[in-house]
Assembly symmetry: C2
Homo-oligomer: 248 residues x 2
DNA sequence: CGGGGGGTTGATCTCCTTCAATCAACGTGG
DNA sequence: CCACGTTGATTGAAGGAGATCAACCCCCCG
């Protein structure tokens, strides 16, 4: 359960835990070699800002381990998370000079960065990268649209249940396709981060989590360790149909 | 002002009003010829459903003229719009067998459809299509994220102002880059569609539009014709900084 | 003339926010 | 070792923005 994230950069692409899921997933050996020449690792501590919105970006890259958030902020300080970056997720937009969002490390973070200019050039030459990036972007677009339903139409309780089910599902697929029985996982977000994700206040998040606990939908050990005794029940609370809207 | 949309399909790709902005934008003459063999036009009347979520999709395509909406619906009937499809926008996801969303024609609609299988094959062979689709998908993702801020953190009044400013801006860029002076445009959506877009009820939409009118932010002729005397004022009401968060 | 779709407006209710107090865990320095 | 501050979280009380329920209008069309 622990140690699902490395804390150090892998030595070579062969060692890389995200080798088969990141933007480089489809690359051949020679293409990896090319990428290797323009890549470098960067480490961030929990809480550190990776990029400020509006700053010039001279790199793009992948999350190797740890979790980061993508957020937008209004002048008066209201903030909305618009992306949750997990290992293998891609950061940055080829062709864009400045960052559009704040990127903040939620946990300790390792990123595999590519210098932007040469990466863009490689994209034009080797279709494997562009193909994979298209696939990943389409997936993100689907996730964003799913989230628009959550933000626009779901109640606070449903929002929390939706977030929990998403984290739970991701955890299950990560850890060798859910053995049935109660699922357990660690919430990677503070109450405030959850509120920013769901368009709520942190007080409401806290209240609804307590309510779900009281109603037996989830169990808690400490603040972060969640157990879901009945996943279908959680999905029902999220307002999803029980097959979970699988799109594949 | 009128007749910005054709009501009939173009005869050839050369005539096509979206030739330089759609998924085929980067194609060479020979590639267009190839596309021509797998394409066909379809017409829909206002209100008609183009695709039902969950239905098998044997085509993908572009909006040639008219407007369509992408919506998600929960079992109890709550619906959230997750995309507004304007001329040149792409419909469908290569690689996916079934539709993930309802697509409904808001106005009379002409679509340029490609049979899915051969289109997917062309995508693998000609990078121009995949490149353009990636670009378009990244733009859509940015739009979706902008919308997540609107849905999650803005007030009803700000939501309406945001929607109006988006429609206004699109109209301005379409019609030869805003001559300054009051902008005018036609709202392409009913109050109910706006509500579905913004995560509100149609009553709230109506009230807030009335309020913006009373406060002089907009003027109305009939229900649909909007005049914006001071665009910066509208942006301020939307909670955007006056440069409009340009990302380029 | 009747009917229906789209829109506006009013009254009431409710869910979530706001403001505020309290708590537990943790680290730090005297 | 204990007082103190900090950070994340919980809980309570009060208020408000928007939902809900409902009446009504306008206009087009059969």
């Amino acid at each position: 359960m622990l140690n699902e994230t490395l804390t150090a950069a892998p030595r070579t692409c062969g060692d890389c835990p995200i080798r088969h899921r990141a933007v480089c997933a489809r690359c051949e050996a020679d293409e990896l070699e090319q990428l290797d020449k323009i890549k470098y690792y960067r480490n961030f501590e929990a809480g550190q800002t990776v990029i400020w919105s509006g700053d010039p970006m001279d790199f793009v890259g992948s999350v190797v381990s740890g979790i980061a958030t993508l957020t937008q902020t209004m002048e008066d300080g209201r903030t909305q998370m618009v992306g949750l970056l997990l290992p293998s997720d891609f950061v940055g937009r080829p062709g864009r000079g400045a960052a559009a969002y704040d990127v903040v490390a939620t946990t300790d973070l390792v990123m595999c960065c590519f210098r932007k200019k040469p990466f863009e050039q490689m994209m034009n030459e080797t279709p494997h990268i562009a193909q994979r990036l298209l696939e990943m972007t389409l997936d993100e677009l689907d996730a964003a649209r799913e989230w628009m339903l959550v933000l626009g139409r779901k109640t606070a309780r449903e929002k929390i249940a939706s977030l929990l089910s998403i984290v739970a599902r991701r955890n299950a697929t990560l850890h060798l396709g859910m053995r049935d029985g109660p699922m357990q996982f660690v919430l990677p977000l503070t109450r405030e981060a959850m509120a920013d994700y769901l368009g709520l206040t942190l007080e409401t998040v806290s209240r609804q989590i307590s309510a779900l606990k009281k109603d037996g939908v989830i169990r808690l050990e400490g603040k972060r360790n969640v157990t879901v005794p009945d996943f279908d029940r959680l999905l029902a609370e999220a307002g999803d149909d029980s097959d979970g809207g699988m799109l594949v």
